[in-house]
């Protein structure tokens, strides 16, 4: 029986796609990030001779294999849903990006084959550790390549090429392609870092054996260093990304930064602030347990926590009273009622740059203390709650930004699947679309 143009009652087609893609992205991001962090951890174990690094890497490899099942099942189901619900759009995309999608499929195979080999050969290659680490890194490399390939498609949908679709260079390296790659690469590592920290905190709080407490205390620290270090890069990389969007898709920029969906970035600032304050607070607590006491360093970190809180407060102030128009959170004269200290220039810039600089200094101080080591297993429960808060927040941050990128298609007078080329109801537009056939739009 032909299915025709299927309409999903109540929730609509988009929710079906969201339901499949968002969990897939959360899992895929985890897989890519962990296949970079875990081999580095294994290598650290090799050079420092500390077994905890290897224990962590091995458990991470096992979990990666298992979660790959759900992640890839969601990906396949998503493609199936896309073909069924958006056949015109999909055939259009498949035509332009056939080689990208083919390569993407092979990356899936390569990645899972290498992760399996890496995990399976752990004992067998115990005396060829360097070669074994390379297995892990290769799996990570496949994952990153996979991400860069799908970014071709994702970035093209927001900012289609500046030339005809047959011009491969322009099409693949479309305006937001590189910023998206950089933003997602750092995001993968930060996301996974905070998740590692959150998991470690959970296990630490439940552990009763001393060696487990020591291990999970260390694991929380290890994850937090990754999470916070790469979080610090994100405002800069995100700024570069938004700059490209502003230049090549002004309507999208307006919609997200000053328009009806600007609340998403206000929400993002709250999320970033929670993660930053939780991270610096955690570092401050941890410094109490440095093997070599460092009171000056701790006092400086305490100051850094104060500054982080100050910059966070600055970032969280909305620019006007047009808060969330979708649910009626508009007060006084809306956009006309500006809030002091809420403007992008100079206050948000001061907040972002300040937070990044203070963060870099804090991380530097903390890593200096790490050099002398910590007494593991003595962290209090509040420090673990900070790790859990950061982990939960990073998941919501991913969801917020994923939603922001996809809802940006609604910017302007038309809702787009590919901006300027294909509308939500799969109408192909010739005028102004570089990929569309010019003679017969």
């Amino acid at each position: 029986v032909p299915i025709g143009d299927i309409q999903i009652p109540v929730i609509g087609k988009e929710i079906i796609i969201v339901m499949l893609v968002m969990p897939h992205i959360l899992i895929a991001t985890f897989v890519i990030g962990i296949t970079l962090i875990a081999p580095i951890s294994e290598y650290m174990g090799l050079i420092t001779k500390q077994p905890k690094y290897d224990r962590f890497a091995r458990n991470a490899a096992k979990f990666t294999i298992l979660i790959f099942v759900s992640g890839s099942a969601l990906a396949i189901t998503f493609i199936f849903a896309l073909i069924t619900l958006y056949p015109v759009f999909w055939s259009y995309l498949q035509n332009i990006f056939f080689w990208v999608l083919l390569a993407e499929a092979f990356m899936f195979v390569g990645e899972i084959a290498l992760v399996y080999a890496w995990y399976n050969a752990w004992d067998r290659m115990a005396y060829r550790k360097r070669l074994h680490v390379i297995f892990g890194f290769m799996a990570g490399l496949f994952g990153v390549t996979q991400m860069t390939l799908i970014n071709v498609v994702g970035s093209y949908m927001m900012t289609p090429s500046l030339a005809q679709a047959t011009d491969v260079g322009w099409t693949y390296l479309n305006p937001t392609y590189m910023p998206l790659n950089m933003h997602r690469f750092a995001g993968n590592l930060s996301f996974v870092g905070f998740l590692i920290a959150g998991w470690a905190a959970w296990r630490y709080l439940k552990s009763i054996q001393e060696n487990d407490r020591e291990y999970y205390d260390w694991m929380g620290h290890w994850g937090m260093v990754w999470g916070f270090a790469f979080l610090l890069l994100q405002p800069l990389l995100g700024y570069g990304y938004m700059k490209e969007i502003r230049e090549h898709s002004p309507a999208t920029f307006e919609y997200l930064m000053t328009g009806d969906k600007a609340w998403l970035f206000n929400l993002l600032m709250i999320e970033i602030s929670i993660m930053a304050v939780a991270s610096v607070g955690y570092f401050l607590h941890k410094l109490k347990f440095a093997v070599k006491p460092m009171p000056t360093l701790r006092n400086m970190t305490m100051g850094a926590l104060g500054f982080t809180a100050l910059f966070s407060a600055l970032l969280m102030i909305p620019s006007d009273m047009h808060l969330v128009p979708q649910i009626g959170l508009v007060f006084f004269d809306g956009t006309e009622t500006e809030i002091p200290l809420g403007a992008m220039y100079p206050w948000k810039y001061i907040g972002l740059i300040g937070m990044m600089l203070v963060g870099v200094v804090t991380l530097g101080l903390y890593l200096k203390a790490t050099g002398s080591g910590f007494h593991w297993g003595r962290a209090n429960r509040w420090s673990q709650y900070a790790l859990l808060a950061a982990a939960v927040t990073v998941v919501f941050t991913m969801m917020t930004m994923g939603y922001a990128r996809e809802t940006a298609r609604r910017a302007g007078e038309e809702n787009w699947l590919i901006r300027g080329c294909i509308t939500f109801d799969q109408r192909v537009v010739g005028e102004g679309c570089p990929a569309a056939p010019r003679d017969n739009p």
Binding site: V10, P23, I27, L66
Partner: protein, 52 residues
């Protein structure tokens, strides 16, 4: 879209909320489904890691 008068009356805000309800309901259904599928996947993986 409200936002004109200073001190917007509560009833006006409620009326707007009601008119936007389908969008809000869709938003929360979507969010719920995402949490359900992601949580289910993670719990399934955890169960597998414990030996199934």
């Amino acid at each position: 879209m409200p936002g004109g008068a200073e001190g917007q009356p509560v009833m006006e805000a409620l009326a707007l909320l009601q008119s936007e309800l389908p969008g809000l309901v869709r938003f929360f259904i979507g969010l719920g489904l995402v949490v359900f599928v992601t949580g289910g996947s993670v719990l399934f993986t955890y169960w597998l890691s414990k030996g199934g």
